[in-house]
């Protein structure tokens, strides 16, 4: 059963320079225990998608259309008080910078017990026990003692674990993680990825992992959605998308990553740069950078099309149909 279904989500920012359609018609669904990798470069709208699900978009941004169905309930229509009851309870978020989650002047135990009791009428003792078990789940040694520490007494990796533990406190059905390991060292990143993998498997929590790093997604996610200029341009099973990318942008993105071809060989690069979101080209937003674009791409925006299995593509000239890479 799907935990989350996002239908035609639109989040726009009303700036002086014009309306920026940061998220412009995003659809996806997520099942229990499933890990979705939401991939894209800066400005592609991946983080705004995550923030929209939790209704955390600040003005001048606003969710202007679409549905966010969480267990059948449309979050976009929910009153603020109801939303607050879900946030941190059934839906949790992990941010890139753990200091965004943690209050620097409160001890960890204060913050964790508060998070438990905000949603659950339990004794402080029971809340504390739950905090200890959450901390030990994310691999913090001697959690009972560490509860008395302040955030600054933790290293960067440990802080991110505490932030993840807080997200887990109330046994959420859905966690949205926004680049949670980007600022961490590789050894710490892999420790956290290992723990998250186990958690998703053991607890059945659905996870949206937002990242710019396709290599992280490769090892973690069941399905991947590639975003470009506010839209999902390709989704599918992680292995399918990574081995036979169908959208020229996915092809370019994969070719840009060093370390899977020959050492020292030229990387296939995507020419140009990400478009200005306030002035998107008519037609396909990727057309100006695409090696495969023709007249039609420059005038008509392609719709999303279902391919074999669970594959979806937004391209007039998908590459997998033709059965090969360029």
């Amino acid at each position: 059963m799907s935990v989350l279904e996002v239908r035609n989500l639109q989040t726009h920012f009303f700036t002086d320079a014009g309306v920026v359609k940061a998220v412009d018609g995003v659809d996806f669904a997520l099942n229990e225990g499933e890990v979705l990798g939401l991939v894209g470069e800066s400005g592609s709208g991946k983080s705004v998608t995550g923030f929209s699900i939790l209704r955390l978009v600040d003005p001048p941004g606003r969710v202007v259309g679409g549905q966010i169905l969480f267990r059948g309930q449309d979050l976009a229509q929910l009153p603020a008080s109801e939303m607050r009851r879900l946030r941190g309870n059934k839906i949790a978020m992990i941010f890139q910078d753990p200091m965004m989650t943690l209050n620097p002047v409160l001890r960890i135990d204060t913050q964790m017990i508060e998070a438990v009791r905000a949603h659950d009428k339990v004794s402080a003792k029971a809340a504390r026990d739950r905090a200890i078990s959450a901390l030990s789940k994310v691999g913090i040694p001697s959690p009972a003692e560490r509860l008395d520490a302040y955030p600054h007494q933790f290293s960067g990796g440990m802080r991110q674990r505490v932030a993840i533990a807080i997200a887990l406190l109330n046994g959420p059905d859905l966690i949205v993680a926004d680049e949670p390991t980007t600022a961490l060292d590789v050894t710490i990143q892999s420790q956290i990825l290992a723990e998250v993998q186990d958690l998703a498997r053991d607890t059945g929590t659905a996870l949206i992992w937002i990242t710019h790093d396709l290599a992280v997604v490769a090892g973690l996610a069941d399905r991947v959605a590639v975003m470009y200029a506010g839209r999902i341009v390709e989704t599918g099973q992680t292995d399918d998308v990574l081995t036979t990318p169908g959208h020229p942008y996915s092809v370019g993105l994969l070719g840009s990553i060093p370390g899977h071809g020959q050492r020292g060989e030229r990387l296939t690069q995507i020419p140009g740069m990400a478009p200005n979101m306030a002035h998107l080209p008519p037609g396909c937003a990727f057309a100006p950078r695409c090696f495969n674009a023709d007249e039609r791409c420059r005038t008509d925006a392609p719709g999303i099309e279902d391919m074999e299995r669970v594959r979806q593509l937004r391209c007039h000239h998908p590459l997998t149909k033709a059965g090969g890479t360029p």
């Binding site: 050894t187 710490i188 290599a215 090892g219 060093p258």
Partner: protein
């Protein structure tokens, strides 16, 4: 092989001096003392002309400090740095000043390393005019040539840094470094802040420039896959010490030091399918109080009693160097 750059036993300490109250407390018998961090501890290696050497390690391992010492931006606390056989350790010496022009650095954040009030033409041309590589009158043409070299439209020369995207700004930083005709470039996390597709463009640019201008690089990065792609040889640092030096093939195919093995194991890779992440325990210890003996022993799966006691030395064996007791008589 003649070394272009040679470091022998280069060290750098950062000492936190006692303030007046702490000094007073010490006089009164309190146990306070100056805290000292060995950011770089007796680093020795060389770089041959035309070579690209990658310097990798996690945050706080001293790789940036080492790069800054080579660039002459930080004085060394001990050891010598030789560039083309000339001692450039003393940053104030005349030799060091001429060498420094031939060694240029490209920084991580192109925004904080470019003066926001200067036009691109001035940013790129200023040093070249000062050092007499061009005249103020011919600066425009000179800068245009350099901009073309890094793939920027010379028409942009009259713009300010904020009018560019991150990737373009990094190109301006590269143009500024190239403007004084350097032979040696130090790239300190130069592509870490860029998007993947822009990263690929800049990596390709580095490789084109290497070929066209016969450049030598010290490429500092925490990203092992980038280093694997671009470097000929790799130096691995941990907590201020060099733990392994090897050619890129040897290092990635057959890492010798347990730390290097762990690092390479944990790089997420495409095409590996769903990975189960194997992890090394714990985190980097505080450099203020590094563990005795081998700094890596508290996290090392192979550590023995000797590792907590003796500091392993970097031993050269058949072209590759490892600082580990496993390769030097055992850990007992």
């Amino acid at each position: 092989m003649t070394a272009m750059l040679e470091l022998s036993d280069v060290s750098r300490q950062f000492v936190k001096k006692l303030d007046s109250i702490e000094k007073l407390a010490k006089k009164l018998g309190a146990s306070v003392s100056e805290s000292c961090v060995n950011a770089v501890d007796s680093a020795s290696f060389h770089i041959a002309r035309g070579e690209v050497v990658g310097l990798v390690g996690e945050s706080g391992c001293g790789k940036s400090t080492l790069g800054r010492m080579v660039a002459g931006l930080l004085p060394v606390s001990g050891g010598t740095i030789r560039f083309e056989g000339v001692d450039v350790t003393d940053a104030a010496s005349a030799d060091a000043k001429t060498a420094r022009l031939r060694i240029q650095m490209i920084f991580q954040d192109p925004m904080s390393s470019l003066n926001p009030r200067m036009k691109v033409e001035e940013i790129v041309g200023e040093a070249a005019v000062y050092h007499g590589l061009t005249t103020r009158r011919e600066m425009s043409a000179y800068v245009a040539g350099i901009l073309r070299q890094v793939g920027l439209d010379p028409a942009y020369a009259q713009r300010f840094p904020h009018q560019f995207s991150g990737g373009q700004r990094q190109r301006i930083g590269i143009a500024r470094a190239l403007a004084v005709r350097p032979e040696f470039l130090i790239c300190d996390e130069s592509i870490a802040a860029l998007d993947v597709s822009i990263q690929a463009q800049v990596i390709n640019l580095f490789q084109d420039l290497r070929r066209e201008l016969d450049l030598t690089y010290l490429f500092i990065s925490h990203d092992l896959s980038v280093v694997e792609h671009i470097a000929d040889r790799v130096v691995v640092m941990y907590l201020g010490r060099i733990v392994e030096i090897a050619s890129t093939e040897a290092l990635f195919d057959d890492p010798q030091h347990p730390y290097t093995q762990a690092l390479i194991d944990q790089v997420p890779r495409l095409g590996a399918g769903r990975q189960t992440y194997r992890t090394i325990k714990g985190e980097i210890p505080s450099p203020l109080a590094p563990p005795p003996g081998c700094h890596f022993h508290p996290r090392c799966p192979m550590a023995g009693p000797r590792c907590t006691r003796d500091t392993p030395v970097l031993r050269n064996d058949a072209g590759r160097s490892v600082a580990c007791h496993l390769h030097d008589g055992g850990t007992e």
